[in-house]
């Protein structure tokens, strides 16, 4: 019943659009010739099955065991082919499990249920959410976002989740709150990286309250229509697609609103390489490599990196009066 209502609302929303459409080219739009053949991404048979399913279902739906249904929000079309699920779930950065990319097997040891997320600090109504309760309460949708890693590789992922602003609306930030801080779980029994007791665990990331309120700021609970796997930051991670990937806190247990700018994990380790803002900019190089291009996971294709990862239309205004800040690295 809920599915039908959501679908009807989606159709009605689209019917309200004006009859005449003005096609505006987004900065990330690529010529058709640059799009990876779908068969290469999904495999020929899988692509056929998926295509048939999409024809039958109309708007894309993310419906698999454990993850409530979620409509795809087409406002954020990525302009690139979706990266194969296998690539995204087997090539991961998750420092608590190691510095290499093959942590996915080790991450399976991280229990995903029960999972409690605290939202606290400068809010009117601090809350503790059971993750499944959160999944039921929040307005889930699917968004296909580009992700640009600071290490100059990139991928395109259909995430399922909800806008951070929806969560903040529940807890009601105080007017004095200026930053949102995200903290990852610390589970020493399954995270070998925590043996390095000299590091400033828990992994902490953050953004300003204005960035948090931007429509692109997304709390992720699923990918490819399934619950978010632990190696990708399950059961709950954060994602701001115009920033480098390390800004996305994974396996979150605490979200805190504060008036103090947080000192983030990588900022404490290598401040000359990883700053607080970390917005994507192809013209500002990492001290040890260029950021002008990125390698697409799966295809290995190299493509130019775009300012704000191509999302400048949505976020450039956030930084209009911050010229004195180190916005790009």
């Amino acid at each position: 019943m809920l599915d039908l209502r959501a679908r009807r609302a989606f159709i009605e929303d689209n019917e309200r659009l004006p009859a005449m459409h003005i096609l505006k080219s987004r900065p990330w739009n690529l010529p058709e010739s640059s799009v990876t053949p779908e068969a290469l991404v999904f495999g020929r048979r899988k692509a056929l099955v998926l295509g048939a399913g999409m024809l039958a279902a109309g708007p894309a739906m993310a419906q698999q065991a454990g993850l409530p249904p979620a409509m795809r929000n087409t406002r954020y079309a990525p302009g690139r082919a979706i990266t194969a699920e296998r690539e995204v779930t087997t090539y991961n950065n998750f420092y608590e499990f190691g510095s290499h990319k093959t942590i996915s097997a080790a991450a399976q040891r991280m229990p995903q249920r029960p999972w409690i997320v605290k939202v606290e600090g400068m809010v009117e109504s601090p809350r503790e959410y059971d993750i499944d309760d959160l999944l039921r309460r929040m307005p889930l949708e699917e968004r296909v976002y580009r992700l640009r890693c600071v290490e100059a590789w990139a991928m395109v992922v259909p995430w399922t989740g909800f806008p951070l602003s929806a969560l903040l609306a529940e807890v009601k930030p105080l007017s004095s709150a200026r930053y949102v801080v995200f903290q990852t779980a610390t589970l020493p029994s399954v995270m070998p990286g925590l043996r390095q007791s000299w590091y400033p665990w828990p992994y902490t990331e953050g953004c300003t309250i204005a960035e948090a309120g931007n429509e692109l700021s997304f709390m992720v609970v699923g990918a490819y229509g399934k619950l978010l796997p632990p190696q990708n930051g399950g059961p709950l991670r954060f994602h701001q697609p115009w920033k480098y990937g390390f800004k996305a806190g994974k396996s979150l247990v605490t979200i805190r609103l504060t008036d103090q700018r947080p000192s983030t994990f990588w900022e404490k380790l290598q401040p000359q390489e990883y700053g607080f803002w970390a917005n994507v900019n192809p013209a500002v190089h990492h001290p040890r490599w260029s950021q002008a291009q990125e390698r697409m996971l799966g295809t290995g294709e190299t493509v130019p990196t775009l300012l704000f990862n191509g999302y400048g239309d949505f976020v450039a205004d956030l930084y209009a009066n911050l010229q004195g800040e180190r916005l790009w690295a």
Partner: protein, 85 residues
Amino acid sequence: MRLIGLALLALAAGLFFMFGSDPLGALLFRLDSGLLSLVQAGVQRYLLPMLWDDGLLPVLEAPAWIVPLLLGAALTLFAWMRARG
């Protein structure tokens, strides 16, 4: 060799009195906060992930004075045995 061994033993004693049981990793992190993450990335990405977890990490978790103590003792003993012919 004997002199190097004795110098390492003196270093071990100094580290013990200055830092007690602080791990070697913590000491290196204080000296250069980015050093170990770079070494870890090099070892785990280009050599073998287990080499870090099972080889280097136990050394870094040990008190800072352990490594110079063991090296110093070994060199001093070796030099003494060579001197005895």
